[in-house]
């Protein structure tokens, strides 16, 4: 029931943002649309609704955002250096990195953040062993750097999503 309520509120806010200068007509249609979506998908939205009322999570999320943007910028400069350099000497490979995250949502966010930072994309993840298979553009000495980045984001995500 609470999951449905949260999905209704989130859907309604997104509708209001889509039709930004809202008036009464838009709000009326928005309530109908959000109620319809809630009726279809209400129970799938979240397993633990109590998580939505913890304030610390949002504060940690505000801390994660600038860290993520800065890492993303550095990773892009790194890739750009490889692309622009005249003689391409890559040592790519797939490595296996263990994480300590257990929940679906935590693993999903970790995989997405790793894909956007620091020369690695997630190829697959194993939920039983909770490890990620990362394709790295330069394996060699970078393995420690990537493992360190994974651990750093892992700690932040554990505070936010678990």
């Amino acid at each position: 029931m609470r999951s449905k309520l949260i999905l209704f509120i989130v859907g309604f806010i997104i509708w209001c943002l889509l039709r930004f200068p809202v008036d009464a007509q838009h709000i009326f249609i928005g309530i109908i649309v959000a109620a319809f979506v809630t009726l279809l998908l209400g129970d799938l939205f979240t397993n633990r609704p109590a998580q939505f009322f913890k304030v610390q999570r949002y504060l940690w999320f505000l801390y994660l955002m600038p860290v993520f943007i800065w890492e993303c910028f550095k990773a892009n400069l790194d890739i750009a250096r490889y692309i622009i350099s005249p003689n391409l000497s890559l040592k790519p490979g797939i490595i296996k990195v263990k994480t300590s995250l257990k929940t679906d949502i935590g693993l999903t966010y970790l995989a997405n953040i790793i894909t956007l930072t620091r020369g690695a994309i997630t190829v697959d993840l194993d939920k039983e062993e909770s490890c990620l298979y990362l394709h790295c553009i330069e394996v060699g000495d970078k393995k420690e750097i990537i493992t360190a980045a994974v651990n750093k984001f892992e700690n932040l995500i554990k505070k936010i999503f678990e």
């Binding site: 997104i14 943002l17 889509l18 039709r19 930004f20 200068p21 993303c72 910028f73 990773a75 892009n76 890739i79 750009a80 490889y82 692309i83 622009i84 391409l88 890559l90 040592k91 790519p92 490979g93 797939i94 490595i95 296996k96 995989a111 997405n112 953040i113 894909t115 956007l116 020369g119 690695a120 994309i121 997630t122 190829v123 697959d124 298979y133 394709h135 553009i137 394996v139 060699g140």
Partner: protein, 104 residues
Amino acid sequence: MNNIIGVIFITLGLAFDLIGCLGLFRFPDVYNRLQASTKCVTFGTCNILFGTFLVLGFNAAGIKCLLALIFLLFSSPTSSHALARAAHKSGEKLCEGSVGNEYK
């Protein structure tokens, strides 16, 4: 002032998009190409959308830019993950000069 900062963001985004597209041609195999296209194109497009938001301000189009930015941040890594996994499942080999494959 907002206009100038917005145009700077858009220029930066266009530069990263261009580099990402160059990477699609230069890198040897599908995984490296996914790296270039995912990272650079996501970051570049996010910069373009944010710059457009700064230029337009808080009106109907500006808010839609922000929403598109958030959806892009969620969907782009997920789709690259799906593509990489599908390529591996269909037997796509790593390129020559690769060091090690710990996946299966």
